[in-house]
């Protein structure tokens, strides 16, 4: 299981197809992206916490099964951890799907297959798999929340750019007196439809990644300068 996963992680195209494309496909409207982001945060945080608790709940002195590696648990134990992660992520995804169907059936219909794909996406991306560091539940929660916030921020930013330019609207949630959709009239009349296609989503993703890398690179180059000035 672990071998397959690491091989998968080494193939950029597989990673792209399994993790990014489904996310990009659904990130056409801000509201859908927000729901998917909420689901991702729920599944990531929930599965991390559950795994951290279960790992910590193993009775003292219980030996690990399988042939232990020099720097980690045995093969059978790793497989058991992966299966456990899969079950936990699937359960949380199912709970999210059921909750979404009850609370927002329209959003559930819009997300379609992409909500169940969430568990697979997170496992493949390594965010839902077993935590090799054996962190405490609190640290696992914080780590998952941080990862989830990045994912949510990126997804919403992409959806916002695509919806504003590609449809001339911003779809949020209807509340009393507000229908849930903001219209931007010049773009509503002649939107840049190309951004609504999957290629437009990948384009937005590419520029988002480039912007984040540029900011991080600037931070990285600013730190040594600050050190030197001291």
């Amino acid at each position: 299981m672990d071998t397959v996963s690491s091989r998968t992680r080494e193939a950029p195209l597989v990673m792209l197809l399994l993790t990014l494309v489904p996310s990009i496909a659904v990130a056409v409207r801000v509201a859908d992206a927000l729901w998917l982001a909420a689901g991702a945060v729920l599944v990531m945080t929930g599965s991390s916490v559950a795994r951290a608790i279960l790992d910590g709940a193993r009775p003292a002195g219980t030996p690990e099964t399988g042939t232990p590696a020099a720097d980690g648990p045995g093969e059978e134990d790793r497989t058991a951890r992966w299966l456990r992660a899969l079950v936990i992520s699937s359960l949380l995804t199912a709970a999210f799907e059921a909750g979404l169907l009850a609370v927002a059936p329209a959003a559930s219909a819009a997300l379609g297959i992409y909500a169940p794909l969430l568990a697979v996406n997170l496992l493949v991306a390594g965010k839902g798999g077993p935590d090799p560091s054996g962190a405490s539940p609190l640290r696992a929660t914080l780590s998952s929340l941080r990862n989830g916030a990045w994912f949510a921020g990126g997804l919403v930013a992409i959806a916002l750019a695509r919806e504003v330019l590609g449809a001339g609207t911003i779809t949020l949630f209807p509340v009393s007196g507000f229908g849930g959709t903001i219209t931007l009239s010049p773009l509503l009349d002649q939107p840049v439809r190309a951004l609504g296609f999957a290629g437009g989503g990948l384009l937005c993703l590419g520029y988002l990644v480039a912007a984040v890398r540029a900011v991080l690179a600037r931070k990285g180059s600013a730190a040594p300068r600050a050190e030197a000035s001291r």
């Binding site: 002649q190 840049v192 439809r193 951004l195 296609f197």
Partner: protein
């Protein structure tokens, strides 16, 4: 080594953009010569379509130049002088309908420069032709606006604002008898050719061709000189071919890719073009298909782009044939305009593969020669 690269001039092969061929022609000279050779077609477009065409040309070129300056200024090296941005803006404008809202050519040119060219490192590092990328972006984004054409000067007929290709498609979609040639189909459908065409074709038929027992179809002159609705600078084949001859003479382009492109497309159109419309085999009207739309413009000015076409002549021939096949399918079965811009963008994807394949073959041949 690092020092020498850092201080090398723009002409140094270590720092300048591909292609690194040892020829006297610089990239800048190529771009300006290509732009110069397109000016007659642009001028003809302004004559045909008037002020709206001029506005589209100015906006498109200005947008490309502004995008180039905006992208290169922060790096401290403005590359407007190399002429590539001007050429991109000009090419985008020549493919647009006159009267299209100004933001469409502006966005298409800016997309071509900023996304297709500068995002990948600037001139010589783009994998797709910037102008064609911009046009495909515009076609995907505003398909309705890019199908609103203007009637050319002196054409008063109601359907004169419809390009012949679209009029032919509409005429063949309707039930009724099937004429043998596209021009005959258009004539039966009452397509609005100009009075000049009627007079000239009538004179040639009665004074020259009647004794020979043959005759020209109405519309021959209009289609030949581009006096029809269409892109601002893409309809007048004689002026485009004259510009292409200029480029061939100066060694800016080579003949392989355009000839294989137009030849393959014409052959496919001739053999299979009439099948889908019930006209039968060998009835596709290849000359009409080649002269209509933007095939001639793209074949000589976009497809042979030295950055996005294969380096070796065999590769150019293969890519030309592939573009012909792609254009045929996109034009006859697709919905992205006349299929030319989309075909070139798709063809650009296989260009690096062809180069790699050719290089491998060349190395193997050399290895066998040494052995």
């Amino acid at each position: 080594m690092a020092e020498s690269i850092r201080h090398a001039g723009p002409g140094d092969p270590a720092t300048s953009a591909a292609p690194h061929l040892r020829v006297r022609m610089s990239t800048s000279r190529m771009a300006w010569l290509a732009s110069l050779s397109l000016l007659p077609a642009a001028a003809w477009g302004i004559v045909l379509f008037g002020l709206p065409a001029l506005i589209v040309l100015v906006v498109s070129i200005a947008s490309a130049a502004a995008a180039e300056a905006a992208a290169t200024l922060p790096r401290g090296k403005v590359t407007l002088g190399d002429g590539s941005a001007f050429f991109t803006g000009l090419l985008v404008a020549l493919l647009m309908p006159a009267g299209v809202p100004a933001y469409v050519p502006a966005a298409a040119s800016a997309f071509g420069i900023l996304v297709v060219k500068q995002s990948f490192g600037g001139l010589g590092r783009n994998w797709m032709n910037p102008a064609m990328g911009g046009v495909v972006f515009a076609l995907l984004s505003w398909p309705g606006l890019l199908s609103q054409w203007a009637a050319p000067l002196g054409s008063a007929a109601a359907n004169a604002a419809v390009p012949p290709l679209e009029a032919l498609r509409a005429a063949l979609a309707a039930p009724g008898p099937r004429d043998a040639t596209p021009l005959a189909v258009l004539a039966r459908a009452g397509y609005g050719f100009s009075g000049l065409d009627s007079a000239a074709v009538g004179w040639v038929n009665s004074h020259v061709l009647a004794p020979l027992g043959t005759r020209l179809q109405p519309g021959t002159l209009d289609v030949l000189i581009g006096h029809v609705a269409g892109g601002i600078g893409s309809t007048c084949a004689p002026l485009l071919l004259a510009g292409a001859a200029f480029l061939l003479t100066f060694g800016v382009i080579r003949w392989h890719l355009p000839v294989f492109y137009i030849g393959t497309f014409g052959l496919l159109a001739f053999v299979f073009g009439g099948l889908g419309t019930g006209q039968g085999w060998l009835a596709g009207g290849p000359l009409f298909q080649v002269l209509s739309g933007s095939l001639v413009l793209a074949a000589f000015y976009a497809a042979p782009d030295p950055v996005t076409s294969p380096l070796m002549n065999t590769g150019k021939c293969i890519l030309g044939a592939a573009l012909g096949v792609l254009t045929f399918f996109l034009r006859f079965f697709g919905s992205l305009g006349d299929g030319v811009a989309a075909a070139i963008v798709l063809g650009n994807c296989i260009s690096p593969l062809l180069d790699r394949w050719m290089e491998r073959r060349k190395v193997q041949e050399l290895g066998q020669g040494v052995a």
